[in-house]
């Protein structure tokens, strides 16, 4: 039977969880078997309304349902946020390369996340934690604007109990007394971590401005360009390297990425524009 690569498979919206004022996590149950590797993305469609790319925030080992964490920021996400659960949505994919997790075996993995950029990083972190003995060290540096903007608030207490995982968090600003961790931009957390640069990789995901300065800081610390992994999600549309929307230089982010090393991007003028 003919199956168009552009036709989504149905997925029921099982549950909606409020993360922050503007961010919700949507739990989807695909009606067909659907597997992804961490860091790959899906196209999520609201039939008759539109389609947009999201990187699942759930563990790839959990296959019956997929979580996507979405910030309300445009036409489609506004509609998505109005859903209560039970609705039938569409998904296509998975697309792109994902994180080369096996390459990180035996290394220290530094995760640098900002805001809703924690979504793909949660999936990545869960992938690491499922096989934590394979990594020398796992460090999560996570920054948000305010304490309210932290996503997965309920998970951090759990994660903080894991002895193989070191967590550092920052907020840009907050009233006195509500936050007993770091206050400042997420990049300042990097001054506090101790890493062996010869055996460490950094995984970065967040808003473009944070990616830009995060990369700069990692380079300053001494990370090699080939050891900095960046999630370059843009407005991927077809997911198949054809429609052109996500082109960045000669790369098609949807098929050559979305995960790139800084080595691959450093010659492109202003890749975080």
């Amino acid at each position: 039977m003919f199956k168009s690569p552009y036709k989504p498979i149905p997925a029921r919206l099982e549950k909606v969880m409020q993360e922050t004022d503007t961010i919700k996590t949507f739990v989807l149950r695909p009606e067909e078997k659907f597997a992804f590797a961490t860091g790959q993305f899906i196209e999520l469609s609201l039939p008759g309304i539109g389609e947009a790319p999201f990187t699942p925030s759930s563990s790839p080992y959990k296959t019956e349902t997929i979580d996507v964490t979405v910030m309300r920021t445009g036409f489609l996400t506004e509609k998505l946020h109005s859903l209560k659960g039970g609705e039938m949505l569409g998904i296509r994919g998975p697309y792109g390369n994902g994180y080369p997790v096996e390459k990180y075996y035996g290394k220290e993995v530094l995760i640098l996340g900002g805001g809703v950029g924690m979504a793909p990083l949660r999936s990545f972190l869960l992938t690491l934690l499922a096989q934590k003995e394979k990594f020398k060290k796992i460090i999560l540096c996570y920054g948000t604007k305010t304490p309210e903007d932290v996503v997965y608030k309920h998970l951090f207490p759990e994660w903080s109990k894991i002895k193989e995982l070191e967590i550092l968090r920052s907020v840009d600003k907050c009233p006195v007394g509500v936050w007993n961790e770091t206050v400042g931009l997420v990049t300042c957390l990097l001054d506090k971590v101790k890493v062996n640069l010869d055996n460490s990789v950094a995984i970065v995901c967040g808003p473009p401005i944070m990616m830009k300065f995060g990369t700069r800081k990692l380079l300053d610390i001494g990370y090699k360009p080939e050891n900095i992994y960046l999630s370059m999600e843009a407005n991927m549309s077809c997911g198949l390297g054809k429609c052109g929307h996500c082109q960045l230089g000669h790369h098609f982010i949807c098929k050559d990425g979305p995960v790139f090393t800084w080595e691959q991007l450093k010659t492109i003028p202003d890749p975080f524009a």
Binding site: F2, S4, P5, Y6, K7, P8, S45, L46, P47, G48, I49, G50, E51, A52, M71, T73, G74, F75, L76, T77, G90, Y95, P208, A234, N235, S237, C238, G239, L240, G241, K242, C243, G244, H245, Q247, L248, G249, H250, K255, P269, D270, A273
Partner: protein
């Protein structure tokens, strides 16, 4: 008939018979003249005597037959047999770009593939040119070297027909008696015409001295000229993108019918093309967008596919309301 010959001669009467027979099994498009412009027409038997075989390229490229401006992309593709008569060398040179995008990569696009497989192309040599023609600046020639099933060279009373594929050869075999072995005089007439035509197109572009546009555009990414000069008169109408034979960008959209999607051509020159939800836009200005376009055609596609995604057809020059001429732009950028 000599077997395995790649060149034949057909006189004008027999040519009409040949096409008449093909109309039984193909939906055919040929060129009709409206003043100086040539446009594609779905032809019937009555049109055959009037279709233009020589001259220059049509106002629209061949791409649209394989990748229509608007197309439904969720149901099974329609396998209609299509015959295109009168494509030019620059049109054929567009197809390796759209082939590389749609036929290769992560998946083969079934909509493009179906049309491509079911399309037979009879191209023809240019025997005239438009002021915007510049194939000779883009490593091209005004007559096809590849990419056709059959190619025509217009002679006084008939055509020289060259076969380019087994499918083309097969069409000739089916109506073998209409074709003859070409004479030496006819063959040398073709050579002479072709040489003259190259010179004419070169003369048309005599004011342009640039070579290696990839190096020129690649080296001028930071030039203030993009903003201050080259893109200044752009009115953001997108016409240049919609007449381009290598532009493959499209917008996927939902229809009101659940689970059905359509795609429409999209243009990197419109402000919203690269914009993401929340408003961030990697290419906010006209200069950034036009530079991105030139890089796409002249730097990145050579890097990806080993070819220029510009064949010098000049359509973008002809339709531009802001009189932006890619030849002049490269000339300016190339000046030290």
């Amino acid at each position: 008939m000599v077997k395995d010959m790649s060149l034949y001669y057909i006189n004008k009467n027999n040519w009409q018979e040949f096409i008449k027979a093909l109309l039984k099994s193909f939906t055919a498009y040929g060129l009709t003249a409206q003043g100086e412009h040539l446009s594609w027409k779905n032809i019937s038997e009555d049109d055959i005597p009037n279709i233009v075989t020589g001259r220059y390229r049509a106002t629209k490229p061949v791409k649209g037959f394989l990748f229509p401006a608007k197309e439904e992309v969720t149901s099974e593709p329609d396998a209609k047999k299509l015959l295109i008569i009168g494509a030019k060398a620059c049109d054929l040179c567009h197809l390796p770009t759209t082939d590389a995008i749609f036929l290769k990569g992560v998946v083969c696009d079934p909509y493009y593939e179906t049309k491509r497989k079911n399309t037979v192309i009879i191209s023809s040599d240019c025997d005239a040119y438009r002021p915007s023609c510049f194939c000779t600046l883009m490593e091209g020639k005004p007559f096809p070297a590849a990419g056709f099933d059959l190619n025509l060279t217009t002679l006084e009373n008939g055509y020289l027909v060259e076969t380019g594929t087994a499918a083309g050869e097969e069409l000739i075999k089916l109506q073998n008696s209409l074709f003859e072995k070409p004479s030496d005089a006819q063959l040398s007439a073709r050579e002479k015409m072709r040489k003259e035509m190259i010179e004419k197109v070169k003369k048309n572009n005599a004011e342009f001295s640039w070579e290696n546009p990839r190096a020129i555009v690649g080296a001028t990414v930071a030039s203030p000229l993009w903003e201050e000069d080259i893109a200044k008169t752009c009115v953001e109408c997108d016409a240049c993108r919609f007449v381009c034979g290598t532009c493959y960008c499209f917008l996927l959209a939902e229809t009101a019918r659940n689970w059905e999607k359509i795609r429409t051509w999209d243009s990197c020159q419109s402000e919203g093309y690269g914009r993401v939800a929340g408003g961030a836009n990697p290419r906010k200005t006209k200069g950034e967008r036009l530079r991105n376009l030139y890089q796409c055609k002249l730097v990145w596609r050579p890097e990806n596919f080993g070819l220029y995604a510009c064949t010098g057809c000049g359509r973008c020059i002809e339709v531009c309301q802001g009189k932006i001429d890619i030849r002049k732009s490269i000339q300016k950028l190339g000046k030290k």
